[in-house]
Symmetry: C2
Subunit: 385 residues, 2 copies
């Protein structure tokens, strides 16, 4: 096992009826801004529960944080919050609203000229306005970590940041808030969470059997519960299990002491930035090709994953590796998530553009062995055509 540091101070308040509990989590005299997305929370009762819980607190609303939240939109929220001297933000929504809110709270306290530098120049965040979340879409795990991915619409850049100051103070996870999700978002959430686990698990062994089994626990549970969630998205137990899997997939607990990959995410972000393809779908496009391309260096973990998660135990090593990758693809396709670029009408032009951008940005040394260079990215994407 490698040396590690772990900390995760987020308070999780899980279960039906728990939105009311935010009344005890936000200071009674707080000046609160609620951030949300397109407004579905006004149709499914979540908004009403939030307003009831906030009681007499002074409230400002910021509506319209889009999927892959835009820097441009978020800076409007920053201005609104500053104007109203907001001292607590409540993010109500999925990963985009929560990621966006992490940027807002950091940008509100940013003392440099342009808060975009937090992303582009990796300027460290040294303070932030406190915030909590009410999660309505299990997927990204943002509700229990300090990371955030932001898109600049103007330049089609999608960049990440994180800081000890951008952990939510609390997150409410009420599975009932997911009952009205479109199936497309449920599928996306399952694939997103599943891929988060694989990024932290399909690397190379470092004798960390507990972390391996914890990762496999999430994979096996998503494998079981995912298809059930599609069939019956109003089954409380199913949605509870899916929701908790998505949170556990990226709260840091399976990552301790082991190498992590993240090349799939790094490459996939470009497909969203350039074409607006759903994040989870871009992962499903890149991951299988990356696993095939890297199957030699990932062999031991791939074989273990195949056997323990998909029951792949017979055949030559090469056959088992391929069967394992095929099982992963089949799982994504069961969830109606396509895994080829052509399924999204994306061709070689886009690969060339991604190569150009990576060369311009000086991208190099991706993956757990820091051995994926731009030419490898080109080959991986070509395998996904």
């Amino acid at each position: 096992m490698n040396n590690f540091t772990f900390i995760n101070p987020v308070k999780i308040i899980f279960g039906k009826g728990q939105i009311a509990a935010i009344a005890d989590e936000i200071p009674a005299d707080a000046r609160v801004m609620i951030t949300y997305g397109g407004g579905s929370i006004k149709e499914n009762g979540v908004y009403d529960q939030v307003i009831a819980a906030l009681g007499n607190r002074s409230i400002v609303e910021f509506k319209g944080i889009e999927p892959n939240p835009h820097y441009e939109t978020l800076m409007q929220a920053v201005n609104l919050a500053k104007r109203h001297r907001i001292d607590f933000i409540l993010a109500v929504g999925g990963g985009s609203v929560i990621d966006g809110t992490k940027f807002i709270v950091a940008a509100m306290e940013y003392e440099g000229e342009d808060a975009w530098d937090i992303l582009a120049k990796k300027v460290p965040v040294t303070k932030a306005v406190p915030f909590g979340t009410v999660l309505t879409l299990p997927a990204t795990g943002s509700e229990m970590n300090s990371g955030s991915v932001i898109t600049r619409a103007e330049t089609k850049e999608k960049l990440a940041f994180g800081s000890p100051f951008t952990f939510p103070k609390f997150s409410v996870l009420d599975p009932e808030t997911t009952y009205t999700l479109p199936l497309r978002q449920i599928s996306n959430g399952i694939v997103d969470a599943f891929t988060h686990v694989l990024e932290q698990y399909l690397t190379y062994p470092v004798n960390a059997p507990l972390q391996d089994r914890m990762a496999e626990s999430i994979l096996l549970t998503l494998k079981e519960e995912g298809p059930k969630a599609i069939l019956n998205p109003q089954d409380y137990d199913t949605m509870s299990n899916f929701m908790w899997c998505a949170t556990m997939a990226l709260n840091g607990i399976i990552r301790v002491g082991v190498p992590t990959d993240w090349a799939t995410h790094y490459i996939a972000h470009e497909l969203t930035a350039l074409h607006g393809i759903d994040h989870a779908r871009t992962l499903a496009i890149v991951l299988p090709s990356l696993l095939r391309y890297k199957q030699e260096t990932k062999k031991e973990k791939l074989l273990q994953y195949g056997e323990r998660v998909w029951g792949v135990s017979s055949g030559t090593e090469d056959e088992r590796l391929e069967a394992t990758i095929q099982a992963t693809i089949a799982f994504f396709e069961t969830l109606d998530i396509k895994t080829k670029l052509k399924d999204y009408e994306v061709g070689e032009d886009t690969i060339r553009e991604i190569v150009r951008r990576f060369e311009e940005r000086g991208v190099k040394n991706l993956g757990e062995r820091a051995d994926i260079q731009v030419k490898d990215v080109e080959e991986i994407l070509t395998m996904s055509l």
Copy 2:
């Protein structure tokens, strides 16, 4: 899955050489008290590393926190710390030193007449002096939770308390600090951690498959790594895996949303209080009888545990239940932990005394179904004779 709240703000700093990292975790101007046990840390190099890391900070030492730490001893530490206006405590040792330190930091800020009331009268802790830990014995999980068990020597009472204010600020887990542990303590630690998991797992199903698998992950890893730790207690990877299992067994993560038992602990504490038997050994005495006594209401989880952890899959239901309990006993005995009262020269007198104490204290409704009464405790202990 049941509703739940989870929070665990402890920073874990794991790995070889990490004691030096405490230099960055304790304020530079802190007045530090170091608490420790019998002094083995002065022989194995841990003390020297701690002193080096603390640098120029003002330091007071409190030596002599015994196993099953005594209220009487800890109150001496409270007085010493107050006299020196200590504002940070560093606990260096195993679960007893850490549990004891949690009581010290709470008692230092206690405003009532007698800090024993925190235990005996369950007076809530409302503030505490901050503290960190350097763990030297994987076992209790105290390094990453807020709970503590304290013994009053005078009355032979062993009672528990916990509070949001008694989480360590940080815990350093360096597996190399375990290299000089007596085998007896390694065995105890394995059984202690294993039983912690079972207390949170062997109850009844509530459709929480991820929590079940996470619990089984720890059990399977302890089953594998435990015997290796006994054979080769200076193998870094083995001790790392054991250490991380023990921490994960009681940091709250496997407990979320599921019922918990804890009757074994409740009963076993009396055997330590009355006879000074090692905590882990009292668990090994009580657990098998409790499982047999309650096998009807614990049936579904017992069968799952038997199959997934011990590979028990054939025979009638009764045969599988008994084979599962036998496998658990055999595991304890492999670690040289005896499971009968007579192995510790304890007889019916002690059972009568425990019954008397429980009746006097009005103990009732133990276990996940709150259905274990004093007469059941008597029967369970009689089965362990």
